[in-house]
């Protein structure tokens, strides 16, 4: 078979309609003289251009088409047969300049090395790309302490949020004696705006299994769990297949690769509770309890799942492991900054052009991440801020775009690296509103165990709501800061401790916007409905009555062919008149 066609069938591809495209290609191949191998792959990170179709010929010349609709398949493939290429549709290629070639060139792919390239359901594909070579090396050529040392030397830090050195964590679990230990993969990714873990689970499940098996061997665990959120059914499906295949091929289960090492791996599903991503809550959830965090110490390394020594790592952390073992710590820690080694995957979302996943060396300035790799803003409106680290993180303003992406530099701004979500906002975004939305998320997800987290966030939310309705006072700002302090101090787990961050950072960098809402009863971004004022410009109004007819509360009066007027007391700011006016006579301020 000389030609290969791959369709991106991860959740992002499917969400954009990849299944129909796949079927259209299948049908085309049945009825045409084009002979090709049709396969599915996962996500290469260019979610904004899904559905994606890649055509690779016998000489390995590759063309990736973006934004493909099922009805375009026939023309594109017919033309391809005749040697005609739809250049405007090609976004990536190794034989011509695609619009996203630059995007990929600026990346360094370790975690995402296989994503969007291999068929995630094929063990063979994984093996052909150095799969399970690291496991073989670890089991047959390395001492357990040597493996741990290698991970320590690499400088790898946990990608689940806290950035704890992975090698050290393994050392703790290794040092705790005990015949029974567990190794857990945290795949509960729930930060709004983060989707790197989903992409790796869907696109390269064997890399997680390999990372876990190496880790389990190193610390002396013979049983493991992958705790995956139930919102990721495709990830679970790919994991199930991968575990089965790995077991059959001797990479999992009993006597792995002919050694006396055994490792049994199970999948556990969540059921929609963000707080279960917290490690102690996660273990409670695996045990069949409500997922409530508990006080640490004891840490999982001493007393974890069912009271046994347990190591828990995030998906992205684990995806680095096999690469490090195979290529060596020195090659890994060449990337990054002094205290943040290697690469980091970022999820770009919000008002950015290239929304999707990218992987860059730590230490790249934020502005390069957003403008060089991320393609800049999606709309004409200028950049205003970027939320780093989801609801536990903070908002970084334009003047701090020179900040480099590593743990310490980001923390200095008041945000956190977190899981690596970047939600980009433009001038049309109201910062008070956004802070309110993030806080609403944490308030909803609070497990309710700690009073400050449960009640304090609710109070903060009430105040923010008041401000967006124009009913806030200047004292409210002080109360917000006071409450933030109390919540951070008085909460047991990271959820409560970090919940005030979005409010604190917006208060720090966008205080004048809060003040405009309070003092001038004005929302500078024109978002907060309660503060909007609709008015008719008499010079432009021709008296067509269109507005008066759509107003649901009859707030608009006037005679035909004469300028109309809005009764501000009656107006409910629904904006119907604004949409109905064909003469631009209604202003929104």
């Amino acid at each position: 078979m000389s030609l290969k066609i791959k369709v991106g069938m991860a959740s992002c591809g499917l969400a954009a309609g990849a299944r129909d495209v796949y079927q259209a290609i299948q049908k085309y191949l049945e009825n045409s003289k084009l002979e090709a191998d049709l396969a599915s792959t996962a996500c290469i990170g260019m979610c904004f251009a899904e559905p994606l179709v890649e055509i690779i010929d016998a000489d390995n010349n590759s063309l990736t088409y973006g934004d493909i609709q099922p009805q375009e398949v026939e023309t594109i493939l017919n033309d391809y047969l005749e040697g005609k290429i739809h250049k405007d549709k090609v976004i990536l290629s190794n034989i011509m300049e695609g619009s996203e070639n630059e995007n990929l060139k600026n990346q360094t792919r370790i975690v995402l090395r296989n994503c969007g390239r291999i068929d995630p359901e094929s063990l063979q594909d994984y093996l052909e790309n150095d799969g399970y070579k690291a496991l073989e090396k670890a089991l047959k050529e390395m001492e357990r302490t040597q493996i741990i040392q290698e991970i320590k030397d690499s400088g790898l830090r946990g990608r689940g949020g806290a950035g704890f050195p992975t090698g050290l964590k393994w050392q703790f679990a290794y040092d705790t004696p005990g015949p029974k230990k567990y190794f857990i993969c945290n795949a509960d990714e729930g930060d709004p705006g983060a989707f790197m873990d989903r992409s790796v689970l869907e696109g390269d499940p064997h890399s997680i299994i390999e990372g876990m098996t190496i880790g389990a061997y190193a610390i002396g665990a013979d049983e493991g769990y992958i705790y995956c959120r139930a919102e990721y059914p495709l990830a679970i499906k790919h994991l199930q297949k991968a575990i089965k295949d790995a077991k059959e091929a001797g990479y999992l289960g009993k006597n792995i690769l002919g050694t006396d090492f055994n490792f049994n791996l199970h999948i556990k599903q969540g059921a929609g509770a963000f707080v279960c991503g917290e490690e102690t809550a996660l273990m409670a959830s695996i045990e069949g309890e409500r997922g409530m965090p508990r006080i640490r110490p004891p840490f999982p390394a001493q007393s974890g799942l069912w009271g046994k020594p347990t190591n828990i790592n995030n998906v992205e952390t684990l995806a680095n492991v096999a690469w490090i073992i195979l290529n060596g710590a020195q090659k890994y820690n060449k990337y990054g900054t002094e205290k943040s080694k290697g690469t980091k995957v970022f999820a770009l979302a919000g008002k950015i052009k290239n929304s999707g996943l990218i992987e860059v060396p730590m230490g790249m300035p934020l502005k390069d991440v957003i403008y060089k790799v991320g393609g800049g803003m999606k709309t004409e409106k200028p950049f205003k801020g970027v939320q780093l680290g989801g609801p536990s993180g903070g908002c970084v303003p334009a003047e701090l775009l020179d900040t480099i992406v590593d743990y310490d530099s980001i923390t200095k701004t008041g945000a956190i690296m977190g899981s690596g979500g970047m939600v980009v906002m433009d001038e049309a975004t109201c910062m008070v509103d956004v802070a309110k939305f993030f806080l609403n998320f944490t308030q909803n997800e609070s497990c309710g165990k700690c009073t400050f987290c449960r009640v304090g966030t609710k109070r903060m939310l009430e105040i923010l709501t008041r401000i967006t309705e124009g009913k806030g006072t200047m004292e409210d700002l002080e109360t917000l800061e006071e409450l933030s302090e109390n919540i951070s101090q008085g909460s047991l787990c990271g959820l409560g401790q970090t919940a005030p961050n979005p409010v604190l950072t917006t208060l720090k960098y966008f205080r004048e916007e809060y003040i405009a809402h309070i003092k001038d009863k004005r929302c500078p971004a024109g978002v907060c409905t309660a503060l909007l004022k609709y008015e008719i410009t008499p010079e432009k109004c021709v008296g067509c009555t269109a507005c008066a007819r759509v107003c649901p509360v009859e707030a608009i009066s006037g005679e035909v062919k004469k300028p109309h007027k809005i009764d501000q007391d009656k107006c409910i700011k629904c904006g119907s008149c604004y949409d109905a006016c064909k003469f631009d006579a209604i202003t929104k301020s």
């Binding site: 959740s11 992002c12 499917l14 969400a15 954009a16 979610c47 904004f48 899904e50 990714e189 729930g190 930060d191 709004p192 705006g193 983060a194 989707f195 873990d197 989903r198 959120r229 139930a230 919102e231 990721y232 059914p233 556990k268 599903q269 969540g270 059921a271 929609g272 509770a273 963000f274 959830s285 695996i286 045990e287 069949g288 309890e289 409500r290 997922g291 999820a347 770009l348 979302a349 919000g350 008002k351 929304s355 999707g356 996943l357 939320q387 979500g421 939600v423 906002m425 975004t429 956004v434 939305f437 993030f438 998320f441 909803n444 997800e445 497990c447």
Partner: protein, 152 residues
């Protein structure tokens, strides 16, 4: 009557969440009934109170009957920034329900949920296990109609 779903799993407490998922997914009204709780309680030897504690803790479980298809629209900030509010309005209109309600024909229940991890294609919703992204009002209309068509 839930035996065949329950017995798929060993009678240990850590299988509780799996069993509850299984029961709910296989119920035409997508919920866990009182009888089901009773049966699970006997099988796992845990109290119904514990099971209710778990059921109410996790947002994906329902103890009330719902529609055949559960629509879960993401309300998290990245989707909000890309117009999820407009999509919600459209869904409410075309289904003629409020949030949390089921359509009269029992086909759909409309729910809001937190980030579905497909933010690169915001706004996003999930219907049962399928994800739909880059939503527009027109797309929503088509998706709903397609599902309706498939039921007949």
């Amino acid at each position: 009557m839930y035996e065949k779903f329950i017995k798929k799993y060993a009678p240990t407490k850590d299988n509780l969440i799996y069993i509850l998922h299984e029961i709910q997914d296989n119920h035409p009204q997508q919920y866990v009934s009182e009888e089901a709780v009773q049966e699970v309680s006997e099988y796992l030897k845990v109290s119904p109170a514990h099971i209710y504690g778990v059921l109410t803790f996790y947002t994906m479980f329902s103890t009330k009957p719902r529609g055949k298809n559960i629509i879960r629209l993401c309300e998290s900030p990245p989707c909000f920034l890309r117009g999820s509010e407009q999509i919600l309005k459209k869904l409410k209109e075309s289904l003629d329900v409020k949030i949390g309600e089921t359509t009269k024909d029992g086909l759909f229940t409309l729910e809001l949920c937190a980030c579905l991890g497909v933010c690169g294609n915001a706004p996003v919703m999930m219907i049962n296990e399928d994800v739909y992204g880059d939503l527009t009002e027109k797309k929503v209309e088509k998706i709903i109609n397609d599902i309706k068509g498939r039921q007949e």
